[in-house]
Amino acid sequence: MHPAYSVIFFTTASGAGYGMLALMAILGTAGILPADRWFGFVGLALALGLITAGLLSSTFHLGRPERAWRAVSQWRSSWLAREGVLAILTYIPAGLFGIGWVFLEQTSGFWGVMGVLAAIGAFLTIVCTSMIYRSLKPIHQWHNDWTIAGYVALGFASGAVALSFVAHLFDVAGPVVKALPVALVPVAWAVKTGYWAFIDRTRSLSTSNTATGLRGGEVRSVDWPHTQENYLQKEMGFQVARKHALKLRTIAHGLTFAVPLAFAVLTLLVPNPLAGIAAFVALASIAAGLLAERWLFFAEAKHTVTLFYGAKAA
């Protein structure tokens, strides 16, 4: 599948934003994070900023962005519409929780309830994003539960790394905030490793034989219906990164997981401001790593339409 830059940025940025929002809301409500005005403002602004930038970016790949408002109407059947509905709904408790934290320095009682609702909304929005891909049967590499686990785990891992950095910035990073990336990054690492192992050892049920219904031997594509690349090949037949998949996976292992984990451990061992610098390195690394990981998620996905263009399996 063709990796559109706007969709890569959208899914990584909004995933990290929702992960961070959920963690801030839970830890804030539980009283583990201090209800400090400026920390709350910068932290929630970063989380909601990532979410909003991601959502806006997702409209850039639309053919008709001015009609984007229509995309929430079909929540009964469409995961994309459900994602839109939940994304909008989550702003309400998240905004109220932010008002309580930033203006009143309150994160308990009513404001705490808003925090819990914001966390639930954030979690469900990530699940909806993953379900858009999980629900597509023609793409074997997406149509499995690893897709959901991957989006949720990576959203929360990157959110925890971002939260740790902001908390260090305000010198309010307690042991829980420092330990969260150390706990969540390995979970995401395990899920992504499991995902890659799964797509390496399994194939789509569809082959060039089932696609054409021609039985009795190998089906060879001898003539295409067009002399130049058409929409189907540009959108679904993307091959550039597949060639470099192994290298990109190594980069993703390093930047998304190994480096952030090492520097997250460092934040537990050294005092501020060194710990703050370590938290920043972890954040910069996971941000770059996620772009490689998400690029691969698209580039390694093989659509069944390629079976009509010479692919034997998908």
Binding site: G63, S78, V219, R220, F308
Partner: protein
Amino acid sequence: MTTLPTTTTTKLGLVIDLDTCVGCQACVTNCKEWNTGGHSAPLTDLNPYGDKVDGVWFNRVHTFEYGLGENARTVNFPKSCLHCENAACVTVCPTGASYKRSSDGIVLVDHDKCIGCKLCSWACPYGAREFDEDEGVMKKCTLCVDRIYNENLDEVDRQPACVITCPSKARHFGDLGDPDSDVSKLVAERGGYDLMPEQGYKPTNKYLPPRPRKLTGAAIGAQESLQPVKTNGKGFLGWVDKVLTR
């Protein structure tokens, strides 16, 4: 609404005969010609006289080979929207632009509602939908909905453009929900099949497999081998025979 109808009154669709298709591209051409002025008009062509030609087509003919040696076959393979019963291209649509008609099962796009997110084209295993870069909306085969019910046309012409133009009668149109229709009988008789049944989309369109190849002369009613002509010793041939055998 992008939820699918549980049943449709009829199941209009195509039956495509891979045995007789000669790959002449007439169906492709007539489809483009009709539809660029019909329900989905225009079928945009980008850079049509340049080196990177691109454009929207609803029907495309691939050519495949399969088998080896004397069993090897070349098959021309027309592919267009299969108007599936489980049309996931419809259910994934966030705006309600994609829909399946409960009356005849035809899958259509309302181009005024489409936001061009392309998700429907990802959800189609067959690659039936093509994006119009110029208009920013998705387009697809309409089964010539603007022909088959068109009372301004003679009744004989109320068929999809691809069907009516096919010179080798490789394309048939009708109600595949009615077991007594001509197309249903044809499918039963020739062992018509679904493309990618394992995907679970239940396509309405069916494909008829190439007939088994007849490898001997006897199989088509010819002599096994040629015998020398016998003469009765008379006439010119008799004289030639006599002279040459001397």
